[in-house]
Symmetry: C2
Subunit: 218 residues, 2 copies
Amino acid sequence: MSRENLQERVYRALRQALMRGAFPPGRSLTIRALAGALKTSAMPVREALRQLVAERALAMLPNRSFGTPLMTVAQFDDLRRIRMRIEGFAAAEAASRIDRETLLRLEEIDAEMAAASRRVRRERFIELNQEFHFTIYEAAGSAVLMPIIESLWLQIGPYLTFVFPDGERPQVTHATHRPVIVALKRGDAAAAQAALAADIDKAGEILKRVATFAAEDG
Amino acid sequence: MSRENLQERVYRALRQALMRGAFPPGRSLTIRALAGALKTSAMPVREALRQLVAERALAMLPNRSFGTPLMTVAQFDDLRRIRMRIEGFAAAEAASRIDRETLLRLEEIDAEMAAASRRVRRERFIELNQEFHFTIYEAAGSAVLMPIIESLWLQIGPYLTFVFPDGERPQVTHATHRPVIVALKRGDAAAAQAALAADIDKAGEILKRVATFAAEDG
DNA sequence: TTACAAGTGTTGTGATCACAGCATATCGAC
DNA sequence: GTCGATATGCTGTGATCACAACACTTGTAA
């Protein structure tokens, strides 16, 4: 048996599923069902769920059970706005620290995303987009910033259910990723920040067109 | 019995203690000891601890037990830097949204802090400083930003052990809080951001002079 | 006196059970 | 057929127990 906790394993499994958009917004998760699916007892599952609630990846539904958050449009815009600011800042920091090797990796990912989109591989597309962004944030070199950004990504996770690399999305993504790479190459912090914010902004706009949200009231 | 969870109660108790600097950096906490002190079983305590670890308020020590994080100087500077950026942004947002009533509240708190410091009331001083900042952040009106900032405050929490309102600190705090209020009154977002960042910067500088840190190596 | 080994206590972890709150279904009365 | 009360099952929650990993102490032998 590996030397890691069961709850750690459960946590990672759920976290990855959430980040990949495996659960739509408002989907409810029960301790016992997950425990059964993962072949463990309730103990590790409830602690993993609680940790995800602390990271805002899950919420406690009104009926006192766990589930993925269902946002209103206003909440979605708030999240998008904060992401643009914080992840933009991370890109700015990365501009002065990123090395040649990492820049090459970004080029590779960008190329692979175009390929993945042509073959309409949804999961791979999401995965590569995630890798593109986190390669940059990693380069920012802040241990404090990293978990904050991860939490933000966990929050939008469920809305990635609506992402599909149709004819438009991958082209747009390529168009918004390109300026980020260029700015990072030049070491231009302000441009990198603006370009990355624009990418998030655009992606959010597309998502808003196809996603479903909670009633404004709540 | 009150209608809230036991783990919620334990969580709030620990969280408040941490934010008030009740535990010094590197202090270890055991589940059974806390359960005994709070007169509950281990169950609610371990879930509360796990939640605090997720919020970076606690860490898992190398000896496999829980404890408050002991930072290196570099980590402390990283945290300070991110705080200046994120909380500064919150202040900028607040500048265009804050109302007259909230501004008056800030004036009150500022005045009370001077009074608290003359009587050398350490705990009250920390509490008022916290209220000053969070009154501003609340005014920023972002449900996404708020828990992020709370997590940042939980991370510096243990280092508030070293805060003491001696002859210097309260004067400095007043000197750095004042420009924040002035900028917010004018609705000047850029000035508010700069003033708040300066406050965090100065406070961190003072703290660094008296606090103890982990060895640079780790 | 020193070194090493056995033992003891403490740690977090996982499993299991009992229970209260709640939603829903089911059954009976009108 | 409709309404209401009872019952049933499901939810998270808390308590308790057993256990493996580890730290530390204690005792013994050289």
